[in-house]
């Protein structure tokens, strides 16, 4: 894998999965993984297999639910959907993330501004 790809921060994968399910509705693991890859324009380093650990975590917390169904090309697959609690959690996590990125932005821009002095 190319070294330029981004390593995922702890916990960010869970947030991505929640957001994907919130936007796309019910999806199977492969679909979620593909969607995240597409959206990130292949910029994140994602072993598709690791998505399942995230799915189990989220399901055990009650933020997503799952059921077996049939995929577009007639394959038996497990489909995941976001729950009400999951939407609440997503909103909270997104707010938290925005604050964090905001702070990071400010800190980083300060660094470049003050360099000449």
């Amino acid at each position: 894998m190319s070294p330029e790809k981004l390593d995922l921060l702890q916990g960010t994968l869970d947030l991505m999965v929640l957001q994907t399910l919130a936007v796309m509705g019910s999806m199977h693991g492969y679909g979620i993984a593909r969607r995240i890859e597409q959206v990130s324009a292949d910029e994140v380093l994602l072993n598709q297999g690791t998505i399942y650990a995230s799915l189990v975590r989220l399901e055990q917390r009650g933020w997503i639910s799952s059921s077996w169904g049939v995929s577009g090309n007639n394959r038996k697959a497990r489909f995941y959907a976001i729950t009400k609690g999951g939407r609440r959690q997503l909103a909270a996590d997104a707010r938290h993330w925005e604050r964090l990125t905001g702070v990071m932005d400010r800190v980083l821009s300060m660094d470049t501004d003050e360099e000449p002095a």
């Binding site: 993984a33 297999g49 399942y52 650990a53 497990r78 959690q89």
Partner: protein, 894 residues
């Protein structure tokens, strides 16, 4: 909330882990197939499509690992893995496993058993509801026996009236003699023991009967129909656990007595109030009948109101004391109890004196456990050395240091769990044996059992000992150098040296611990031997006593004396005629049994001293009793001519005689023949002086004694003492037959060797001494085993070195001596360390010793020598093996 939910989900997931794994496999398969389909659609070949799909997915194992970690308890999974592996490795080495489990089993077993004893006697509350409210009310210790430890019935009433902090107060008659109940079921009367209690006794203690009811005030009134409550054990033994016994009446002491209740199995009067005695039944005490005039007869037990502190209870009792009268009809006696009404927690009364002994016992088994742990550490270390390559290999394959330590700790835990199971079995045997030592005068012993607390304790010590003995080898192993271990390291490598030093330190500490145990046991043993050597003032061997039933009821005192004299004369002359009987005599109380006092007769015409000492203990005896007891007598014994109308005579003991002589300025040899004041009357002539008899304890003289003839004073019972040349048991049958001959109503009373009374008095000391000695022996054994193991292992490691030495000309004797000297050197260091530690530890047991210094040199020397001898023996076998090494074989091997 979501965290809780997740924990729950994890547990569920752990339980159903097989199904979850299968589901996940399906899910992964579907994932890959979808990826392959998509790749083929994009125009890849089938092979390339699969390769790309796999590449994007990552390794399947990694996905499984992460999935499992997120889903369930990774640690539990690992633990299962460790457990499986451990069981496999242990099974491969059954010798080691069995030895380790046995060592731990012995040590843990001893610990569980002693913990059960400590828990029952010291930690757990007494077996009554809200037992912390119960108090024992008694005067401070005095020398006049039970009479100075009890109260009159009037005093009881006044105490109840003048105190506020007590819910209620009760008590029991303290002078009941064993075998005081004679049950007639048709055949010969059966002896049993009953205790008279105040009617509210069971209410105050909070004991509810297993069947029927307990007493009401009506049962204790004048003229009430006789009723009885049976102990659970007697009901089972004598009445075959008759379920419909309530309401049935039996002939007891010649009266039709109705059974109104059966006590629960967990209430044993003797276990709490008179250790070592068997109490079969409880009867109500009529406070307002004859006992009113019997003086001090009852012990007091109170139940404090909720929230009342001990301090309040004490000052309340102190304030009530001046109002208490020995006898209400005699106002002079009011206030005689001032300063003599002191409540203490009932529990302290029952088992407080044993606290120190129990702590010592507890420390002894803790030391055993430590020795066992050191032993196990040693064994594991030796094993670890031979497994170092295995661990190095595992390390090389990527096992983390923590993982290896965890594996070793799992092994320790498995071993200690095995040990705990064996220990539980052993402890169960030991505890049930202890619980049946009915003759040991220790309280609550019969209630011993391995309960839930003891089980929790077992788990605690099993886990902590696993950590203790697994830790050192674990660290040593994990710290091992991979490279060093993997290359074929020979003996004498750096690691081996370091191990050797650790092992030596372990052996030294083991020997030191064993030394402390042995010294403690030695000191207790010497104390016990000293106690056995004490001059009791009488000869307990070859003498025995049996309770004689007699009836001297008569209209006048003279007639009663005449009747009694006739009976006793007949009994003594008939029994003396039995072949083998040397002497026979009757006393109402026996030494080291019950006792009482009647005040202090002083020399006639001498002004009483300001502060009077406690009065002598009173014995009402027949002629011949002193001889039968085997006590030395100066002056003359009583004769049958000392009748009710002749000069009253007494015998007194030498301690009392000495006191009187000083008071009246008599010469010590001149006491016989002097007169004592007994109020109105001609005075008491001292007919003789008897050696002081140890009456209350074998370990120290307590009260003085005075003997009255049965022809001049009224005995409260009759114990026939027979001295014989034969073993006393051989006479039991013929004596009882003779008594039956004289009185068909004679119960089949127990023929008690006097030695039994002495043994009973010594039983707590013997009990503790035996236990500590047993533990010390166990400690010695374990230490010997440890020394053997280490020396043997060292010799094995040094086989090559020894071979070279022998090839260079060392003789077998030199090799053997070198190994032995090494062993003894380790033992010697251990003994010195242990002896120094003992010097400090011995101070803790100083109060338990009798006529023995805690720094008793012979004990220290003897035990040190014993340990070194045992160490030498343990080292001898490996030493001999070393001397037989064949240089050729040794050099060729490896």
């Amino acid at each position: 909330m979501s965290r809780l939910r997740r924990a729950f989900a994890r547990i569920v997931s752990f339980v159903f882990r097989n199904r979850q794994e299968a589901n996940f496999e399906d899910e992964m398969a579907a994932h890959l197939e979808m990826a392959i389909d998509e790749n083929i659609e994009r125009g890849m070949s089938v092979v390339e499509a699969r390769r790309q799909a796999m590449l994007r997915f990552g390794t399947l194992d990694q996905a499984r690992y992460h999935h499992r970690e997120a889903r369930s308890f990774m640690r539990v999974d690992l633990l299962m893995q460790d457990l499986k592996y451990t069981v496999r490795t242990l099974r491969r080495d059954p010798g080691f496993t069995i030895v380790a489990v046995l060592i731990l089993g012995l040590a843990i077993g001893a610990n569980i058993a002693v913990f059960s004893v400590v828990n029952t006697l010291m930690l757990r509350p007494l077996p009554f509801p809200s037992a912390q409210q119960l108090v024992w009310i008694a005067p401070p210790p005095a020398k006049c026996g039970l009479s100075c430890a009890t109260y009159s019935t009037d005093a009881y009433d006044e105490f109840r009236m003048y105190t506020r902090s007590y819910q209620d107060v009760t008590g029991y008659f303290a002078f009941s003699s064993p075998g005081n109940l004679s049950l007639k079921l048709g055949g010969a009367p059966i002896p049993a023991t009953s205790i008279d209690v105040i009617a509210n006794f069971f209410n105050v203690l909070g004991v509810t009967p297993a069947m029927g009811r307990t007493f009401t005030p009506d049962d204790a009134r004048n003229g009430a129909a006789p009723v009885i409550v049976l102990s659970n054990a007697w009901w089972r033994r004598q009445f075959n656990a008759d379920p419909s016994i309530i309401g049935k009446a039996f002939d007891m002491n010649g009266q039709q007595t109705t059974v109104i209740g059966v006590l629960p199995a967990d209430f044993d009067f003797g276990a709490v109030f008179s250790p070592g005695a068997k109490v079969d039944a409880i009867t109500p005490l009529n406070l307002y009948g004859p006992p009113r005039n019997w003086g001090n007869i009852i012990t007091l037990i109170g139940r404090l109101k909720p929230g009342v502190s001990m301090g309040q209870a004490v000052s309340d009792a102190e304030a009530a004391a001046p109002h208490m009268c020995w006898n209400n009809n005699n106002p002079n006696t009011c206030g005689t109890y001032t300063g003599a009404v002191v409540p203490v927690a009932l529990k302290d009364y029952v088992s407080g004196k044993l606290r120190r002994a129990l702590v010592v016992l507890w420390s002894a088994v803790a030391m055993i456990l430590l020795i066992a742990c050191v032993n196990l550490s040693n064994l594991l270390l030796a094993r670890a050395a031979s497994r170092s390559k295995e661990f190095a290999m595992r390390g090389a394959l990527g096992a983390g240091r923590g993982r290896i330590i965890r594996q070793l700790l799992t092994e320790s835990l498995v071993l200690s769990s095995g040990g705990a199971l064996v220990g539980l079995l052993l402890a169960d045997l030991l505890v049930s044996w202890l619980a049946h030592q009915g003759s040991v005068a220790l309280p609550l012993l019969g209630l011993l059992q391995i309960d839930r607390t003891a089980l929790a304790w077992t788990v605690l010590i099993a886990v902590s000992s696993a950590v203790v003995f697994g830790f050192v080898p674990g660290l040593r192993m994990a710290a091992g150098n991979l490279y060093e271990a993997l290359k074929d390291s020979g003996p004498g490598a750096g690691l081996g040296r370091k191990h050797e030093r650790t092992r030596s330190i372990l052996v030294i500490s083991e020997v030191a611990l064993a030394c402390m145990l042995l010294v403690g046991a030695g000191l207790l043993l010497r104390s016990f031997l000293h106690v056995l050597d004490v001059d009791l003032g009488f000869q307990p061997d070859r003498a025995a006593a049996i309770k004689v039933d007699y009836n001297d009821n008569a209209p006048t005192n003279d007639a009663s004396v005449e009747k009694r004299t006739a009976i006793f004369q007949q009994v003594i002359s008939r029994v003396s005629a039995i072949p083998g009987v040397e002497a026979a005599g009757i006393s109402d109380y026996l030494p080291l049994d019950r006792n009482r006092s009647w005040g202090l007769p002083l020399p006639k015409g001498v002004k009483p001293p300001e502060k009077q000492p406690d009065g002598p203990l009173v014995y009402v005896v027949t002629p011949g009793y002193i001889r039968a007891l085997g006590a030395r007598l100066k002056g003359r014994d009583f004769t049958w001519n000392d009748g009710p109308h002749s000069q009253p005579v007494v015998l007194i003991d030498s301690g009392y005689a000495h006191y009187l002589a000083q008071l009246a300025n008599w010469h010590d040899d001149n006491v016989v023949g002097q007169l004592l004041d007994n109020g109105p009357g001609p005075g008491l002539r001292i007919a003789g002086v008897v050696d002081t008899v140890r009456e209350e304890s074998t370990e120290a003289p307590t009260g003085w004694q005075i003997y009255y003839p049965m022809t001049q004073a009224t005995p409260s019972a009759a114990e026939l003492v027979v001295r014989t040349q034969l073993p006393p048991a051989a006479l039991a049958g013929s004596v009882l037959r003779t008594l039956r001959d004289i009185n068909p109503n004679q119960t089949a009373a127990e023929f008690r060797p006097l030695q039994l009374l002495v043994d009973h008095a010594n039983s707590p000391r013997r009990f503790f001494m035996l236990l500590v000695a047993a533990f010390a022996t166990l400690g010695l054994l374990l230490a010997a085993l440890g020394i053997y193991g280490v020396i043997s292992y060292t010799v094995t490691r040094q086989t090559q070195e020894i071979g070279i030495r022998m090839a260079l000309g060392a003789t077998a004797a030199i090799v053997q001596r070198k190994v032995l000297v090494g062993t003894v050197r380790l033992a010697l260091i251990g003994v010195i360390v242990g002896a120094v530690a003992s010097l400090f530890a011995a101070k803790l047991i100083a109060t338990l010793l009798f006529a023995t210094s805690p720094w008793d040199l012979p004990t220290y020397l003897g035990m040190g020598a014993l340990l070194i001898a045992v160490a030498a023996i343990s080292g001898f076998l490996p030493a001999r093996r070393a001397s037989r090494v064949d240089p050729m074989v040794a050099l060729r091997s490896n």
